[in-house]
Symmetry: C2
Subunit: 211 residues, 2 copies
DNA sequence: GTCTATAATGAGATAGAC
DNA sequence: GTCTATCTCATTATAGAC
C-alpha cells in the first residue's frame, strides 16, 4: 500500500472529481484513504493546501510536457510551427495523461471543475499554473497566423480551450441517453478530431458586418 | 424595493456566480437580500430548491427563445435551415439575455458553474432544462449536415457548447492581465465570431489516419 | 508519523411569536 | 409573510497520547 500522503492525494482526487471540491469533506477523503483527519493537516496544513497539491500533481506534468513540445517545435526549423502542430502540442499532453492515469475521466472532470469552481485563492493557483504555457502558445500562434490580430488569436485560443475542457469533462456520462458521448474511444482519433475542429475555427472568416 | 422572494433570488444569483453554489451559505444570501434565513425556507423550502429556482428563472426564457427560433427556421421554407442559422438561433438567446440583464457577466458565470459544479440532483436539473432544446437542434443539424454521422453532429454540437460556455464565463476577468478578454464588446460581433468559429469547426475535414 | 478525542465554528432547517 | 431564537448536525482544525 502506498504511503499515507499519496493515499490521501489519490482519495481526494477521486472525490473532488466525483462530487466537487467544495462538497467533499476532509472526513470523506480520509475515510476513503483509510487514514484520519489529523493526517491531512500534518501533511498538507489545510484543505486549501490539499486542493493545491492535488491539482498541481496532475497539472504540472501536463503543462511541462506542453512546454517541452512547444520548445521542440520552435527549435525544429527556421519556419514557424503550423497551427495544427501547435494545437496538437497543447491538446495531446492533456488527452494522453488522462488516458494513462487509472482515474481516467475522473481526473478530467476534476480539472474542468477546478477551472470554474475556484473562487479567489484557487483561481490564483490555476492562473499561475497556466500563465507561462499560455504566453508561450499565444506567441507561437501569432507567428503561425500573422493575418489575425493578437486579440483574435487570444480569443480563438480560448475558444479552443473551451472545447478541450468541455469535451474532457463530459467523459463518464456516456451512460446517460440524453447526453451521448462526445469523444471518440481512440485517443488518436480524439486528438485528430479536436485539432481539426479548432484549427478550422481559427481559420474561419468572420463576416465584416451583419446583414 | 422588490418583494422578499425576488430579492432572495437576485441575491442568490449574484453570490452563486461570484463564489459558487456550494460555497454560498443561505445566511450570506439573506443578509445580502436584507431578509433572514427563515424566509428562504418559507418561499423555497430548501437550498436545493432555491438553486433550482435561481437557475430556472434565467435558463427557461433562454431555452424557450431557442425553441421559438428553431421553430421559425423549420417552418420558414421547404429547405432545411443552414448551419449558420442554427448556430445563431442557439447562441443568440444566451448572448442577448446576458447583455440585457443588469447582472451581466455574473449570470454567465453562474450558468457555467452550474454546468460543472452540479453533482447528482443539480445535474439532473440541468439535463432536464436542456434535453428538449438539444434534441431539436441536433435533429435540425443533422439535416443541415447530411455528410456527417449522427455521432459526429452530436460531438461537434457539444464542442460548440463548450466554446459558448467558456467564452461567456470568462467575462468579467478582463482586468487580469494574464487572462485577456475573450469576447468582443459588441454583442453583434460576439455572435458573429462565435458562429463563424463553430461553423468552420463543424465543416472541418478530419484526416483519416494519423501519419 | 499516526491516531483518538475534542474544540470551535458554521451550516441548513425549524418552532413559534407577531 | 416575516422574524428571532434555537436545534441539530457536519465541518475544519487542533491538542496531546503513542
Amino acid at each position: 500500500m502506498a504511503d499515507t500522503k499519496t493515499r490521501i492525494l489519490d482519495s481526494a482526487e477521486v472525490l473532488f472529481a466525483e462530487r466537487g471540491v467544495e462538497a467533499t469533506s476532509l472526513r470523506a477523503v480520509t475515510t476513503n484513504a483509510e487514514s484520519n483527519l489529523a493526517a491531512v493537516h500534518y501533511h498538507f496544513g489545510s484543505k486549501e493546501a490539499l486542493i493545491a497539491a492535488v491539482v498541481g500533481r496532475r497539472l504540472r506534468p501536463v503543462n511541462e510536457e506542453r512546454l517541452r513540445e512547444l520548445k521542440k517545435l520552435n527549435e525544429k526549423s527556421s519556419k514557424p510551427a503550423s497551427l495544427e502542430e501547435l494545437l496538437e502540442a497543447y491538446f495531446k499532453p492533456a488527452i494522453s495523461t488522462l488516458d494513462n492515469s487509472e482515474q481516467g475521466s475522473l481526473l478530467a472532470k476534476m480539472m474542468s471543475r477546478l477551472f470554474w469552481e475556484s473562487g479567489g485563492e484557487t483561481r490564483q493557483l490555476i492562473v499561475e499554473q497556466f500563465s507561462e504555457v499560455w504566453e508561450g502558445f499565444i506567441r507561437a500562434l501569432r507567428k503561425a497566423l500573422p493575418e489575425l490580430s493578437t486579440r483574435q488569436v487570444i480569443s480563438r485560443f480560448h475558444f479552443g480551450i473551451g472545447v478541450l475542457i468541455h469535451a474532457l469533462s463530459q467523459r463518464g456520462y456516456e451512460e446517460d441517453p440524453k447526453m451521448p458521448s462526445i469523444l471518440e474511444k481512440d485517443p488518436e482519433r480524439q486528438l485528430a478530431v479536436l485539432v481539426a475542429f479548432v484549427a478550422a475555427g481559427f481559420r474561419a472568416q468572420v463576416p465584416e458586418r451583419k446583414k
